[in-house]
Symmetry: C2
Amino acid sequence: MPQLDPAFAALSDPTRRAILARLAEGEATVQELARPFAISQPAVSRHLKVLEEAGLIETRIEGTSRPRRLKPERVEELWDWLGRFRAIWEERYRRLDVLLEEMGREDSAEK
Amino acid sequence: MPQLDPAFAALSDPTRRAILARLAEGEATVQELARPFAISQPAVSRHLKVLEEAGLIETRIEGTSRPRRLKPERVEELWDWLGRFRAIWEERYRRLDVLLEEMGREDSAEK
DNA sequence: TCTTTATATAAGTAATTTATTATATAACGA
DNA sequence: TCGTTATATAATAAATTACTTATATAAAGA
């Protein structure tokens, strides 16, 4: 799944995660998104481009402003990837537990 | 949560995700991890360092080899972050649905 | 003790990222 | 049409990443 690369990379920046958190509460323009941060407007536009290329947000054009909103599908993919991963290793630990338990029983049974 | 940065960054590389997938099946040495990839041993050691600094794996020293294994806590944190995020925006969409439904009712009621 | 094996570290390099300031574009409103 | 507003793009620079090959370290075994 090659689209996981840009999505995880996009999430690795705290400014971008804060932008996403803001967008989780509703659409916002570049101005609104830039205000809380100590960075320039072009820098925010760049972060938005990264998020959009990662498939995490989308843009609507409304006159001279371009409000952004979340696009949830990609986060579902990340969620699924992590979920499968967790499942595999939890299964592994479960098997390990069973193994240790069996060894315990053999210990008690032997002699 | 500053430790999210290196963890998400670590996951953005497909080689590192493949390493984690391998480790989900059990401990492995640098040699074993390097074999399936077309990159040098030092490059694999570097990836492992990135994963370890992100808190995703840990190292055990056994003679001359250093088998790596998963350290699940950090993935739980990522899982939780994504989960909270999903919850917020699903709540938002839920509210939006309610709003649209109310608007629908008003439409039907009016006139 | 010497050699081999497993791994880490160093030095060098190319590509990518993230910011800045300055400027371009395009819609809106007087 | 002209000035203002919202946003994007360009040019540049600094920092970071991800490799490579060469070398260092440290334990194991003859």
